[in-house]
Amino acid sequence: MIDERTIPKLLIQAYHKYGDKKVALRKKSLGVWKEYTWNDVYTNVKYFSLGLISLGFKRGDVLAILGDNDPEWYFGEWAAQAVGGIATGIFVDCLPIEVEYLITHCGARIVMTEDQEQVDKILSLKEKGLNVDYIIYWDRRGMWGYDHTFLTDYRNVIEMGEKYEREYLGKFEQLVQMGKSEDIAAICYTSGTSGVPKGAMLSHRALILSAEGTARDFQWGDNTNYAAFMPPGWILDQVNGIAAIAVCNNIINFVEEPETAPADMRELGPEFVFYGARHWENLASTTLTKMSDASLFRKFTYELLLPVGYKMSDFTLAQQAPSPMWRALWRFADLLVFHPLRDKLGLSRVRIPGTGGTYLGPNIIKYFAAIGLPIRTGYGLTESPSHCVQTSNTSLKPGCAGIPGLNREIRITEDGEILLRGPALFSGYWKDAEGTANALKDGWFHTGDAGAIEQEGQLVYFERVADVLTMKGGVILSPTFIESRLKFSPYIKDAMVFGGETRAFASALININFEVVAKWAEKRHIPFTSYLDLSQRPEVYDLIGSEIVSNTTVIAKEAGVQRFVNLHKEFDPDEGELTRTRKLRRKLMQERYSVIVEAIYEGKKNASFESDIRYQDGKTKRIHVNLEIRTIGGLKD
């Protein structure tokens, strides 16, 4: 049977099945959860898509959407897809220059934006010549002073759609029926760790099959609560949010504001969470920091019972049954410490915690397993799309990404590159035939990631092939692995590890975690003024040095970090150092900080560094700093 399912077709089926009887979306607004039934979803998608047609949108056109998670975001994407169009999401924190690139590249003539801030961004680009016909916003606040004819409210477009429906009755259903499963539903821009972002074209089939994978792997039913607060333009939300609700008819919850997410999650008590690796790392370091500030009794019980958790996690990860004594001890520890802790994190009802995005260190996985959250890792790319291998309850093993999912084939080339095949793959890169030809050969997608397949069929993911380093003595060094270990320290927010064939040891640039280190310094009466000043205090260097040593004990000495520098500022996506999903852009960083890295390997004690820094308002300033280089481990100065 030919699979002709599209996301809008599935949504309409769900509407006929549930109508007003079942909630589809929930949005926290004015402090209460506002519900949207399937009927509301249908009316919004129908009239918005007809409104888009009134504005000149047609089959094959691209609708760019720029905003945080909101029902209107989802309605916009579904509406574009319903009339055979394509949606592409842009991250809200993108700088105007990035927005300009993405809109120009995807060729969208209608842009949907959330609020005044994003409208201003597009308006300023339009003044400079960006080719956009209409801007539609859905949050009215602050929009009273604008009177451009090309600027319109979401509700106006809905009204236009209602008018269109009166003139062309049944047009919407007709257009939806014309959709084919190989039609492109969305363009997802890759995070661009290796150059400019590429637009992966995802068909309805790819999204639906991937969502079915999620539903199967995580046992989703029609009552599963999904909390949408990852950027909707990211592949994770495209599959687990936009596409999965069409497949599972589950409930999507939108938090009130990004800042209220922790409190809203606690109210929701979802059974399933899928956080990026960064998010789990942050949660771990926040928990460790808060525990160090807790009352003596709490600290005592936590430290006393945490080893029980670790012991139990050893049993879980090794798939052994714990003895009754350990089980009883765990119950006690869970009651007293771990359950309240999970509750504070808003994860008390979570059955399946998942992760993706980038590599998550084994020590973080072990820590969460110890407090009763056995995180399932996965491996996936925008092009795959989403996770294509996934650990299950029976295959949890730190370091392993899991076994290939339904409809997925996986192969490792002789030089260790991971290749993927299956019906759920992307359809190529948007306007980039050469890129497509390089990535898709004979149906196999060349991921550019290094990995291996273990005896049990589990995929072990190393990292981007280009990022793996061979050291002078021939030792292979995995920067991601070491960085992830370093980031387990609550005092280290971010790190980048350097090495190479001409270099005998590894070195690191460290971002201290300002809040935590500042608190630590206050307790010890260490005076400081700014981030730069604090990061260069000798006491802070001592602290970070000992943290590096204690967190990298498992790493071979030749591959361990022996010299490091506390950087004067945090890595910043606005300066292009990180992608919008907070992954390191290594090539750019290697060039930008080459002066410091050379000084490290020349054996100098200080590195003098000059650079431009960009403030949030777009102003730049040239600064000159002198940074200490510290030696640790067995290396002699």
Binding site: L30, G31, V32, E257, T260, A263
Partner: protein, 270 residues
Amino acid sequence: MPGIGYQDSGNEILRVQDLQLSFGGVQALNNLSFKVQKGQITAIIGPNGSGKTCALNSISGFYRPQNGKVFFNGNDITKLQPEKITRLGIGRTFQNIELYPSLNCVDNLMVARHIRMSRTSGVTGFLYFGWAHAEEIMQREKVEEIIDFLKLEAVRKMAVGALPYGIRKRIDLGRCLALEPEIMLLDEPMSGMNLEEKEDMSRFILDIVEEKVPSVVLVEHDMGVVMDIADEIIVLDFGRKIAEGTPTEVRGNQKVIEAYLGSTIKQNTS
């Protein structure tokens, strides 16, 4: 009822007439007169101790001026109690943030709704009986609109005392909004804030004027902010009005430049 000397000029919401206020030998306000038009941001500026806050306190009834009158919508309010003045529709914020530190943000705003509660008496409210429940929901909705407007969602349930200064300033502004006043008197809403917080606050004030409360009297030190957002500026020095006009007019005024750039210091020291 209009007082002596009152002239109705249509668009005027507040009029201060020959206000005299002294503390012992110190003359805080000296024959101060000015008008505030509806739909405008009127800023009162001046060096430290020039009487800006005294003027606000005299309007809102916290100080009793020895002479002069204050008219609100044509009515003499000079002798009224602060609580009565608030009920009439004059809301204010405080320079030093006078919130209830142990109450959370919602409760601090709900306190302001008290003057708008009409259906519940003290007894039914205490017993949570009759209209009390419906009234509570109605008032809470209003408060939630303000929380949304001022982007306070993340601190909704937090005790105010533990919050950062900039946020507390915003809650103070929110409480004033919750009174649903016709005119707001803002006493140094930007003091102690960093640049980003000041930008946010300016945006909030502009939005308030457009969407909620059409008239604002702003006492502020930050000249940049005042010049950017005010429609009218009144400049005080030693309790006297030394200049009045649009930002452009005031900027070039010689007396103002002197007051700010040091001739007052010379007077003091000589």
